[in-house]
Subunit: 60 residues, 2 copies
DNA sequence: CCTGAATAAAAATTCAAA
DNA sequence: TTTGAATTTTTATTCAGG
């Protein structure tokens, strides 16, 4: 379900250093949520996530 | 020169809606500053620019 | 309306080279 | 140390389909 996946995404990036949507997909999978990069791209947009620049390029 | 190009980048994005590094390259060229996407990518990192998400995806 | 697979588009990086 | 050209990687979008 979309809402819970997006909530989980926010949870993940608040706890871990995530630099790509693929990494996010992997973390979701560990939590038994299956989502492709395409879906995460759409989620990122809806959640207004941004990739910080500078050394690491993490999602926030 | 790097410093003035980066200053110009900040100036451009404060005035115009810029969504891609190619657009930025074009705007620079209009101002007689030649820089490829690769260079702008590096500048973006140094300047800590971010792409906002949501409808437009502008640089800030 | 939501999603995945495939693809396109954009951004980051590598590899000379100045 | 900075850059461009080429390439790789990442992200956005298109195009079905559920």
């Amino acid at each position: 379900m979309k809402i819970s996946r997006q909530a989980m995404i926010l949870d993940i990036i608040s706890e871990k250093d995530i630099a790509t949507q693929e990494e996010l997909s992997e973390e979701l999978r560990k939590r038994n949520i299956k989502a492709t990069q395409a879906t995460i791209s759409r989620d990122s947009k809806e959640l207004h996530l941004i990739k910080t620049q500078g050394e690491n390029g993490l999602y926030r």
